[in-house]
Amino acid sequence: MFIHLTEEQELIRKTVREFAEKEIAPVSEKLWEEQQFPYEIWAKAGELGLIGLPYPEKYNGGGGDWLSFVIVLEELARIDCAVANALMANSSAASLINHYGTEEQKEKYLKPILTGEKIGAIGLTEPNAGSDAAAIQTSAVLDGSEWVINGSKIFISNSDNEITGPVVIAAVTGTKENGRSEISNFIIPNGIEGFSYGRKLNKIGWRASSTGELFFDQVRVPQENLLGQRGAGLRQTLSTISTGRILIAAMGLGILQGSLDRSMAYMEERKAFGKPLTDLQALRFKVSDMATHTHAARLMIYHAASLRDAGKPFDKESSMAKLFATEKAMEAAHQAIQIHGGFGIMSEYAVSRAFGDAKVLEIVEGTSEIQREIISRLLFQ
């Protein structure tokens, strides 16, 4: 196995890096401080074709590969993980609609979220159902030609945002013969009657990402808003989650690379005991570890993405990449602050903001514990 980036992928990296450094870095602290979603950056990312890169051109996508999209998220997260997450969560909604939506649904809901005009969200998690997604309680009951939805969702990225397009949610539509819940996915347009948001959620990471708490009180949607087959909800979500894990891993890689770059720059410029920090072995070794983990994570993630692009199985590789990259990102963010000393604690410094961002990565899209569970199941199957 040899991972070789094409000239195009190198140029994509260069372009996104320049975009992130020039357009995002200068406002990153303000966005963090005010927990503000970067609407302007989102629109520009749409213009540049970053958002819809791996989706079909027919629906305003870029017709690109997943490895290229990984590079986009890596470069965005190197500067600001919250911006990268806007693309990531949008892509989760886009994946579901693209795979299981009808032509009409794609025209209406997929097209605008691939250009930056709108932003897509996916609502699975509930206050009492996280990794155990089958335990959700939100219900949908067919009443004539309409579904009536009741319940709530929490921690939903890209919801509660001025340009939230559809929110794809999972709801219980009945009970299966084995007594388990029958779960189906629905496309819910933002702002319809009975659909409201709770209080603003304050976070330690991904602060510029809009994270909503959703309430559904007798929300009525037409029958055609069911996504794909009735009862296929969890299967649909699971089929796209491995791709999501590669993308979260890519964001971990961005934090790794960012922590490494910032630590090296600081060590070269800062003096202690009359010599630059680069003379201190205790700190040099931290950077060696960071660089090694960055390299390993990159190989794992690019490999998983290449498998995905080649149409080969990649579930195990994506879980491994997600587990490794996000845990090492947390470690790197932690050590980068240590290297920066007192300055590293100040939110003015990007290393400080990356700390909370890294922690989020270890939780979303399946916690580290869930990844270990999945990997062991795939090993012993």
């Binding site: 000239e7 140029l11 994509i12 372009t15 074709g49 051109e57 870029g62 017709g63």
Partner: protein
Amino acid sequence: MKRTFDTEEKIIVENNRISKDGVEWVINPYDEYAIEEGIKLREEFGGEVTVACIGPSEAEKELRTALAMGADKAILVEVDEDELQGDEHTTAQLLASLLKDRPFDIILAGNVSVDNGAGQVAPRVAELLDIPQVTTITHLTVDADQNKATVERDVEGDVEIVEISLPALFTAQQGLNEPRYPSLPGIMKAKKKPLESIQLGDLKLEQQDLAAKTEVVEVFLPPEKKAGRILEGELEDQVKELAHLLHSEAKVI
């Protein structure tokens, strides 16, 4: 378009020449303004933007970037810079001979390249093609019906407004526009756009036309800046010492 060192590269002089080992290359930033202006003109008036470059085969990468920004075609005149041993005169001859049989309304180029900084090539090309030229422009308005253009040019901090008939050549100064990022679909489409590669021999130029008019005698880095000195003592003595140092050490008076 010229391919130059990334502006953040460190310059290393080895054996009386600048080392190119492991260097990152970019489109000369002033040429980027020229490319952007060309694309903007096409968006307004239609037509076609062709980017031409004299350089090694590796310059294909920078040409692809220009295509990704939105240029329609690219031409690379492949030269081995070590073999050619040319100067600005050589490049201008090559470009003029490339352009003379191709139709054009406007030629845009960077005002200078950030490496050699001579600012010679584009004006020489205009002379060789016998067309009018305006250098260091910061604004360009084209009147297609009248076949003329009105340009603003930077004249040492002041602005000069010039009216000029087309076809003409312009060189871009900072401030002309804000070059766009290549879009990702643009990057992916760039590969399918035509990139014509021309060998030196195809241009039918005699060796004597290409021979450099200048000679590089020595290449050296500017002397490293020394730490400043603060004079001490009585004011009168300090002034005396300063005058003395300016005369004997700095040799400026």
